[in-house]
């Protein structure tokens, strides 16, 4: 008799707790409010970044807000690398907050309250994976001004993990070789080692070690190309995480192999 999936793994919500949280305790007409889904994971379990890596699936959040409200994109904190045998995934362990900015409409009236809901689809994994979904909602009063909610510290801490735009004094480019992208980063005082997380799937080999070589004031990072990458890419997009924990969003122009030049000369 085969054990069923349910009896060996249990349900997703035995390993993860989801909560809908806000940074402020009230809605204010025409003002921005930060909302988010907090994932609290059991030790040993993880969920996924926007690019999940070799397996898995990122959480999907469908915000349900009254007419006139606008929700921005999910702000993804930088992930950690989750090695699994010969594969590597990108995701989160312990706790993560996926936040988004909400713009309230001008027609909002003080004294009323507004219901905010979200439907979340997610995958939680240990050695095995369990899909789950959760409907969350909360009600917020509309006021003249708002104070911080008890969840404010989590929003502050999470912002530290959001990739920032690349510092202006950095210079970055990459060369595409037969089987690698060799990234050249000119920057002062880099906290090493660094890790690169690609924003898009199937561009680099997730499980391959990322070798770096150093020349003063310069870092050269070797990223193995994905076997599935069949066309040249003009830009390699991703997040670089320094040993200090600082994360930056990179859009790296990729120079194509020399072969192309030789051909164009003929």
């Amino acid at each position: 008799m085969l054990p069923t999936a349910a009896s060996t793994q249990g349900k997703a919500d035995e390993h993860i707790t989801l909560s809908l949280v806000t940074e402020q305790d009230a809605l204010v007409r025409g003002k921005q409010l930060w909302i988010g889904i907090r994932f609290d994971l059991q030790v040993g379990w993880h969920t996924y970044w926007t690019n999940p890596g070799d397996s898995g699936e990122p959480p999907r959040i469908e915000w349900q807000l009254p007419t006139g409200f606008r929700v921005g994109d999910i702000q993804w904190p930088h992930p950690v690398r989750l090695p699994l045998a010969s594969l590597a995934d990108y995701g989160y362990e312990h706790q993560v907050l996926l936040m988004a900015a909400v713009r309230t409409p001008e027609g909002l009236r003080e004294g009323e309250s507004t219901k905010i809901s979200a439907q979340v689809h997610y995958l939680v994994c240990h050695d095995v994976c369990i899909p789950g979904q959760k409907q969350l909602e909360l009600s917020l009063p509309v006021k003249m001004s708002a104070a911080f909610s008890p969840d404010r510290p989590l929003f502050v801490a999470t912002r530290q993990k959001l990739p920032r735009p690349m510092p202006r004094n950095w210079k970055i480019s990459a060369i595409s070789t037969a089987d690698e992208f060799v990234v050249n980063l000119k920057a002062d005082k880099l906290a090493k080692p660094v890790q690169f997380f690609p924003l898009h799937v199937e561009q680099i080999e997730n499980a391959a070690p990322q070798h770096s070589t150093e020349v003063p004031g310069r870092l050269r990072l070797h990223l193995k190309k994905s076997e599935h990458l069949r066309k040249p890419i003009a830009h390699l997009e991703g997040v670089i995480v320094l040993a200090s924990g600082d994360a930056y969003l990179l859009r790296i122009p990729v120079a194509q192999p020399r072969k192309a030049h030789t051909q164009s000369k003929n």
Binding site: L2, E57, L123, D127, V128, H228, R230
Partner: protein, 201 residues
């Protein structure tokens, strides 16, 4: 001493060859594996036929999506009736999710009404690693000349929800249809989606 050095060389060679992943357009590497009825299958014995390789783990929610909906069984029936060889491959290591004995696999197939040409048992993960199979499902298509023509996901919707199957583009059927019609495969690779293959740690 000499002996040791020789073994190191062998180890290095194995490491290099195992890192060299299969590529669409290259010939599909040959392998030998035993099925759930004790029969040995070699990929090369199917030269002249299309072969589909389907990585499988019956405890994985992505595999369950395609079996509980009947989608995988439907594909197996449709394509084997057209002369395609369909090999389900199970690379879960003993003690890991999806590992099954031959009897358990036969029980599962009859319960699910699955009809691949054979279910190959690969508990050491040799075939899986040879093909760099990453997920369950992870699909490969080999043409009659023995060339790999598809490597990737089963379809275009990377979720665990059965409701997504009817509106997803099935890349395996697409590769087979196009190739049988003498056309190039329009999507020769895609990111396979699913649970990681449960290889031995």
């Amino acid at each position: 001493m000499k002996h040791n050095q020789w073994w190191n060389l062998v180890a290095v060679f194995l490491l290099i060859s195992s890192c060299h992943a299969v590529k669409v357009g290259d010939s599909a590497p040959d392998f030998e594996a035993m099925d759930s009825n004790g029969r040995v299958h070699k990929l090369s014995q199917y030269h002249g036929k299309f072969v589909v390789l389907e990585w499988h783990n019956n405890g994985c929610p992505y595999t369950q999506k395609h079996y509980e909906s009947g989608n995988m069984q439907h594909l197996q029936k449709e394509w084997t009736s057209k002369g395609v060889v369909w090999l389900t491959v199970i690379s879960s290591a003993p003690g890991e999710q999806g590992y099954v004995s031959a009897q358990q696999e036969n029980d599962y197939m009859s319960k699910m009404k699955a009809s691949p040409t054979a279910a190959l048992l690969d508990p050491k993960g040799d075939v899986g690693k040879l093909y760099s199979a990453k997920t369950t499902p992870h699909m490969f298509v080999v043409n009659p000349a023995g060339v790999l023509i598809y490597d990737g996901a089963i379809d275009s919707k990377a979720t665990t929800e059965q409701a997504d199957i009817p509106t997803a583009k099935n890349y395996v059927s697409q590769a087979l249809e196009e190739s049988m019609a003498g056309r190039p495969v329009s999507t020769p690779t895609s990111r396979p989606y699913g649970c990681s293959v449960k290889y031995a740690h």
